[in-house]
Amino acid sequence: MTLPAKKKSFDLYAMTWRLPIIVWQLIFFVGPLLFMLAMSFFVVKNYRMVEAFEFTNWERMLGRGYFWDSYLLTLGLASLSTIVAMVIAFPAAYALAFKVSDNVRRWAIFLLIIPFFTSYLVRTFAWYVILAESGVINAFLGYLGLGPYTMLNTKFGTLVGYMTLTLPLVVILQTFALSNIDTRLVEAAQNLGCKPFAAVWRVVIPLAKTGLIIAALFCFILSFGDFVAPYYLGGSKPPTLPILIIDTTKSGQQWPRAAVVAVVMMVTLFAVAYAALTAAYRKRGRT
């Protein structure tokens, strides 16, 4: 592109477009996050927060068993949610990418976008009523002479909530990842005698690796940070880290300790994201 060839020390036109977001994000994005990091070193005296630099909150939180219970629970639930979502979504995404017409695929993706614009809270509440001891599913099973089964306040309930949040996104991202691969390579593999399942495992999945890992990463981040599913459908005993943040902030007035939890969550997510993106963009070795 040809640009006007004047070199100015300060280009008003360029800066008019470049600066607003920098100023805004520094005040309302970087500022809050840095302040939260600083706040994790503050102390609370007589129910009031005092700016300080002490490690009390870190020692208090990290030195307690229940924090690590919560941590491992949240990590485990988010991992489980990611595995379940990826496994459930894959056959659907495979079908949408390879087994339907363009028109059907477009409609399917449009339909999968709808959930993002219905309140996640209202959908969770609907599941609460559906899964309850005397809810729709158990009433239906009752006709068949089964149940009632306890589904609320279990890990199963939490997972249903996580899937409500993440499954549409994971299907969409997987469908994009699979649609982008060169189907001639799959055909070539089959012509050379590769069985269908082996072709999926050894050709399709490696080719779509980057997109699939990114789908999994999004699923993990969303599940890891969600408090609605584990609270309303999972019974929150023991609490996950997001619930711990809410409890510590809302009832305990212990903002600095909540900040410790949040910082630990951020560090964990950075580590997971770094590992995932490294794996996603690593070139495969020639074998």
């Binding site: 087994k99 219905t118 609907a126 809410i246 900040a259």
Partner: protein, 270 residues
């Protein structure tokens, strides 16, 4: 071949199962909203509009709806403006630290909302702005600007690089070119981005819950009702929220996203 055909049918059925799971809560919440039972189950109770009557008579709900509209409209204007500025800077200029610059706008949606909520709560109370409506707006703008940026950037990438240069050669200043060439070209994307930002803001509850104080938005009211007890009026509110958001999304879709997809396809074919 029969194995393959069986497999194809299995895969299609699997898509059906996924769709049933995704739409079960949406459809049931609609059904429950017209159902007389306080705790809905099957067999269903009678048809009733009582939950709609309850919420329409509720002053708190009206107040929250008003707050939500103010927040959503202000957010969408601010976020679309910031998104446009960033998209244009990215399209037109190369400069140092551009990666960091883009990260600055694109990162917020990848950070869990509950963490953003705590950070915002602490920050706003530190700068003496806790419980204000504009605090929610500021936070929602950070959250939604990336979406606006993405949509407008997509539109800019469809613009002929020589279009701006042609206008300059004909003697237009950069500002005039922006006003008479770039902005008209981006208009559908700008409107579409504004709709999408409004829809996202209208649905967001974690940050709004932490930051709002007494100025509750609709999702915060839903959250409080759900936390209290079983109350089907949540479903009735949900229907209204759904209708509002879907109107915005369909508007965005009609205005731009469908057109952009078609444009990209044509571009790929030629």
């Amino acid at each position: 071949m029969t194995l393959e055909r069986g497999l194809t049918w299995f895969l299609r059925a699997w898509v059906g199962v996924v769709f049933v799971f995704v739409f079960t809560p949406i459809i049931f919440s609609l059904i429950f909203s017209f159902n007389s039972q306080r705790f809905p189950t099957i067999p269903l109770g009678e048809f009733s509009t009582q939950w709609y009557e309850t919420i329409l008579a509720d002053r708190d709900v009206w107040q929250a709806a008003w707050t939500s509209i103010i927040v959503a409209v202000s957010t969408s204007i601010l976020a679309t403006f910031l998104g446009f500025c960033t998209a244009y800077s990215d399209y037109r200029y190369n400069f140092r630290f551009k990666g960091a610059y883009l990260a600055l706008i694109l990162l917020p949606p990848t950070i869990p909302l509950i963490i953003m909520a705590l950070a915002m709560l602490a920050w706003f109370s530190r700068i003496g702005a806790s419980g204000q409506v504009w605090s929610i707006i500021a936070a929602h703008t950070v959250l939604t600007a990336p979406f606006a940026m993405a949509i407008i950037r997509l539109r800019l990438s469809q613009m002929d690089d020589n279009l701006e240069a042609a206008a300059w050669n004909l003697g237009a200043s950069e500002w005039a070119t922006m006003r008479h060439v770039v902005l008209p070209f981006c208009k559908p994307a700008i409107v579409s981005a504004a709709c999408l930002c409004a829809a996202v803001s209208f649905d967001e509850f974690a940050i709004a819950w932490f930051v709002s104080g007494l100025n509750k938005t609709v999702p915060v009211v839903i959250l409080e009702i759900v936390t209290g007890n079983i109350d089907p009026q949540v479903n009735a509110i949900g229907t209204f929220v759904f209708l509002t958001s879907m109107t915005l999304v369909v508007a965005a879709q009609l205005l731009f996203i469908a057109r952009a997809a078609r444009g990209m396809k044509q571009g790929a074919e030629t």
